[in-house]
Amino acid sequence: MNDQQLTTLFAESDLSGQPDLPPDYLPALLSRARRSVRQRRLVTMLAAAAVVLIALGLTAVVRPHATSLPPADRHSGTPTIPDRIAPYSRLTGEVAASPPGRALMIYEYGSGELFNEWQSLALSADGDVYRQLGAVAERRQWLLSPDGRTVILAEDARATTALTLLDLTTGKVREVRLPEASGVVLLAVSPDGRQVAYSSAPLPEDMSAGNSIEFQNAQLGTLSVVDLTTGTVTAVPGYQPVVAASFSPDGRRLAIQAKRKISIITLGGGSAVPVDLPDEWGMAPQNAWSPDGTRLATTTWRTDSWQTLDGGTASAYVVDSWYGYGLVDLATGTHRQLNASTDTFLGWRDRDHAIVFAPSGLDNGDDEIAEVALDGGARTSLTRFDTGKTCELGSQTCQTLRLTVAAGLLPDLTTRPAGDPDRGPWPTWVWLVVGVPLLAVALVAALVVRRLRRRAAR
């Protein structure tokens, strides 16, 4: 079978069944062809619009600063707090991806009934901006600088070799080395944010027990003050175990609690002034000193004692703030218990008003931050937490833990109606879990559309 034979074979093939063209063949063809051109134009325009929209969306999500104010410009006004705290959301972005600017507070929010769903969050002092602190805060204790710009972090379950500083205005992290690796408990940060007081103790031999670093320091912790700008660490000897501290408004003095005894010392040397408190009472953690320097906030402490293996007795001193708070007047030494309810002292509004956190205790999530007048006890609610069941796939009400406020922002704080929460770009895991399948669906949809168009063109 050669080329000529094949040509002949095709030439002699029977084509007698070829149908005649219908009379309207050409008009119908032209009509279809014109429609095809129009459809193609439409599809092209829609595709271009989709590309533009996706590009804009990605820009807004991945680089939110391109479409909103940069963090540095968010803090020009008076610090505010929304009258409702936004519900739990897995889509809240991280500080590193989109810094929230100065924070009014940082807190742990979530639930752990069935699954561990806890987020470490920062709420901006200048809008409804919520961000997760991210991996840098995992298994770490924290303080928030009085201006709300920096989160100071130390290890919670292993030795700390350096304090970690998370800048909420830039999302950047830096470290301040400590002289030696030890179990560290963060106690207080100075009003200018430059100094941090902490206690340190050798790491416990058995780290399996919960809160072991905190417990070890409650028995053995010694006081040090670190200058975050220079990295200089100054040990403050003579007090052990140091369990609480608070800087004076001018940052020159430090109120410290060793066991149940409170002393006021001058940084850099000088005699210590004791402050007497009734039994069961000690300093409120972190922000005890009032802005005018005349009062210290107090709360109840308990002493846990136990027999050691060598037959001796050991004691640890821990906050038991479930039973309210009080204040001591530094000039007169007078102590007053102010509230017997479950309020937790957070900081000072002014000399005569405290900011407190009041967990509802009813498992309905209606936790509250309130301002309380120290004379008369008049109470003004500043904000409430979400009451809906937004945790653990809608089965649980979220709980608030480790709430820490920027003490320096409290005097000017005002409440405003809550707006739509700005949660920033989606966390990376959401992109992986949701974005990749969405892209796959989009790809399949594009292939189906392509096939349908081809079929329609025939």
Binding site: T7, E12, L15, P19, L21, L29
Partner: protein, 170 residues
Amino acid sequence: MREDDERGYAQFVQARVPALQRTAYHLCGDWHEAHDLVQAALIRLYRHWRRVSAADSPDAYVRRTLVNVFLDQRRGWWSRHVRPLGDPPEPSAGNPGPDLAVNLTVDLRAALARLSPGQRAVLVLRYWEGLDVAETAATLGCSPGTVKSQTSYAITALRRLLPEYAKETR
């Protein structure tokens, strides 16, 4: 499309449709499907008419488009899983009989249906359209070597599928 462009397109269509349908028929073996293939190719031609008519041969473009539409359609899931026509008859084992030409025509269509779409396209372009190897390669978007090898495979298959014709013309 401008009016004079569309007029030129209409004239081309009117002149070429019957021949295009015959080529499509050789490719697919069915006049209805041939009609659809030609229409799809002409609609694509309409979209690119200005460029094609100005710079290229419309015949070559529409031929290439026709073959591509045919091959795309044969690559699709539906075509690979659904056969609209019954299997072609087995080649006759005995004498071809008195009406050899008619039998050979039927057998050619049956034999072509048993070839792969690519081999069928090679044979139709080379021995029906009369293209040389280079032109066939350009139309199919493959190398001349591929055209040669596919032609060789197709002819070998045809010899097996049309033993009587091969014997008759030996």
